[in-house]
Point group: C2
Chain length 244, copies 2
């Protein structure tokens, strides 16, 4: 059996019992080295196979091969198994070998980051990765533009890497074509790990903000407000309208 | 202390330890009656306050009042606390009373439903509620149109209620203006509860599909495929391109 397991932001307190059980039932746990180090202390008796960043295809091939040979294997993903996770690649490779796959979901940064900031995602939202490693930048810009135009709250993954700078600035400029520079925005840093912090700022400030690969970015819609120091997108209840 | 707690789809195996701890530390647990019945067996010694459907404002007011009086209170939400949850309303009401609020995230249907179907959300996606109870339908249509045009995977909450029929049909017609009628789509029924099932079908079939208020709908993007009977949106890895 092969499982793709979302481990959430990192700590065991945000891993579901279902995910913990999947790991407990595995003999081999495969993942990116940084995530393997998060899980290893929970199951020190297991065999771990860690591969480097960008080693996704290698990692998933190893997992499928070992599951095809009859082992109980889990591929771990930070956050959810599906949202920018390994579930798609594993299912694709496993289908060729006729290996059964169970996808075990986990807490994704959209939800854990939103909770840290308040309630930015209580209305329709779009999740966009700013990484152009596997997606043409023109396509990313088109999605930013359409989502900003239709007044979605935006949740941005991978706002920055060593190689890529200036992408968040560009995303903010696109959003500002449709939204006020005063629009409340939020940064969720190091969710569920040491140094966890939330930061609320305006869209204009976000344009020049410092982010890293452990930051998730939220851009409010036209109704989002800062209430009691928290980022809140109203759903439309009467009590919320009284606030506006 | 007041907490807004996402309990996930229902069963304790998809509630995070953090959410379970929040409930354990509460003396009063407030929620919609159907969700209260899911949680009551876990903590039979607690006081529960259940209100009917559409009782959201009443429920949140009770919770804020009791927390203001010094009690440990949790407001429970199905799925996540933020995604169409009570976090925004609670934060709004609590700010007036200067009550501290912690938002405890939970597994939302986008992630749990996606896992049931395969991996539909491995690329950029938009989450849209088809409920026009609090949002004008024209706004919902605009979001559907923009998201379909920009080739987001679509995840639709509240595709149907007793009062509303024909909304999913209209959403599919909008999507078909931009996507093939053969686009893979998925239905996640009764996620995490009795009768849980996933169903994969084409966009054209989805237009006439039976859904209810316990269904979450996924509409693939232009790249989404059915692989080994699962719904998979490729991220763009080489192994996935070989498949296409």
């Amino acid at each position: 059996m092969l499982r793709v397991v979302g481990i959430g932001p990192g700590g065991a307190d945000q891993m579901t019992p279902r995910a913990l059980a999947a790991l407990r039932e595995s003999s081999v746990i495969v993942g990116y080295s940084a995530y393997v180090e998060l899980v290893r202390p929970l199951y020190p008796e297991k065999e771990f196979v860690a591969t480097a960043m960008r080693g996704e295809e290698e990692r998933c091939r190893i997992a499928v091969e070992r599951a095809a040979a009859g082992e109980e294997v889990s591929v771990i993903c930070s956050g959810d198994a599906g949202v920018y996770g390994m579930a798609g690649l594993v299912l694709t490779l496993a289908a060729r070998e006729r290996v059964d796959v169970e996808v075990v979901p986990g807490m994704t940064a959209a939800c854990t980051g939103a909770a840290l900031l308040g309630a930015p995602l209580t209305h329709d939202f779009a999740v966009i990765s700013l990484s152009d490693l596997l997606t043409p930048w023109e396509r990313i810009e088109q999605r930013l533009r359409c989502a900003a135009e239709a007044d979605f709250v935006l949740c941005l993954y991978n706002p920055m890497s060593c190689r890529r700078t200036g992408y968040l600035r560009r995303a903010c400029e696109i959003a500002m074509q449709f939204r006020s520079p005063e629009t409340p925005c939020g940064l969720a840093h190091n969710i569920g790990r040491d140094g966890e912090s939330g930061e609320i700022l305006t869209l204009e400030m976000l344009r020049d903000a410092n982010v890293d690969m452990f930051t998730t970015v939220f851009i409010g819609n036209s109704q989002t407000r800062v209430i009691g120091g928290r980022m809140v997108t109203p759903r439309g209840y009467r009590a919320e309208r009284e606030e506006a």
